[in-house]
Symmetry: C2
Subunit: 202 residues, 2 copies
């Protein structure tokens, strides 16, 4: 086992530290966040900090770092109040990852990476047509995190569109739909079939 103390972490080279410490919260979900700007330009960006906040109402959070490419996503969400989440499958990984490139103004990432848009009726933000799990969200709460200036965006899910079957007790299998987990910033893990356990009793 290797051990790092806080002072040793702080001394690691910046890129190496960013990569390593992002690996330490893997496996994480991989979602594409779709938005439409006030200028009508669509945006698509990959996010790995996505998490369930609650089931009633259905709330999902994403963490935004205002200093990187994600700032377009944040600007569009705040301007239009709506956005989508589309889960990333193994087939979509190269295109999904490519959305993190800084494209020159004027070109939407859908067009640049070659992913088709799905448009839910009367919903401004586009989702990814060939993702087996698409959600449309409305901004519910913005939280500015004091310790490091990141921003937590909480959305209330307005609609969900998904492929595959749901079991009698509500289980939906991400592996059967080909979803991947994100590792560090540039790594994607395919999933094996899951183990399901019963409700834990003493």
């Amino acid at each position: 086992m290797t051990t790092y103390q806080i002072a040793e972490l702080a001394e690691l080279p910046s890129r190496y530290r960013g990569m390593l410490l992002n690996c330490f919260t893997a496996p994480k979900p991989a979602f594409l966040v779709g938005t439409r700007g006030q200028d009508g330009k669509d945006n698509l960006a990959i996010f790995s900090q996505v998490f369930h906040i609650g089931a009633n109402p259905f709330l999902v959070g994403i963490l935004v770092r205002p200093d990187v490419v994600e700032r377009h996503t944040l600007r569009n969400i705040e301007a239009t109040n709506v956005y989508t989440l589309s889960a990333v499958t193994a087939d979509m990984v190269p295109q999904a990852h490519q959305t993190s490139a800084k494209y020159p103004n004027g070109k939407s990432e859908f067009e640049a990476v070659g992913l088709a848009e799905y448009r839910y009726p009367d919903f401004a933000a586009p989702a990814v047509e060939n993702s087996p799990l698409q959600m449309g969200l409305e901004l519910a709460e913005r939280i500015d995190i004091k310790v490091n200036g990141t921003i937590l965006i909480i959305g209330a899910v307005q609609w969900v569109r998904f492929g595959g079957e749901v079991t009698e007790d509500g289980f939906w299998d991400a592996a059967a739909q080909g979803l991947v987990a994100n590792g560090g910033m540039d790594s994607y893990y395919p999933l094996l079939a899951p183990t399901r356990l019963s409700y834990a009793k003493p």
Copy 2:
């Protein structure tokens, strides 16, 4: 594709809805949170809402639902200011899942489920000895989420202890260490070897 609108989600039976909507943010990390109470009693609880907040300083967030078994975790963190995260491997799944059972007062989950404690020097909270990724955290910020009353606990990582190798550019492979991803509330996915992509350029 199946589509649910917000009103249809609200009408689903409560347990079914909880299971299904938790599946919709999978695959998620699976961590055991270790704490020590002021009475000296250790506590261990499984969490799947764990996420990277930043790398400099290294900050990790966990989402706590105050109405469930996790309330002991929250009480201990607020009393002692420290806690640990230990990543769950395929081998540990049965024991890790079992920590969610409501044990009668007096028995620590380490003892009840049969996981050995690791004690970092001068650090009150216990980690899980046979986890290949253990972190010690100090409470940095508590955020009460208004929309549904859940609580985001952000910790500053004080130490990390991990097995395996790190590549020259800082990549650490969660799959090589046997980590699993959490699905819905009761499902765990083993990981296949990752695909790594290069930094995305237009």
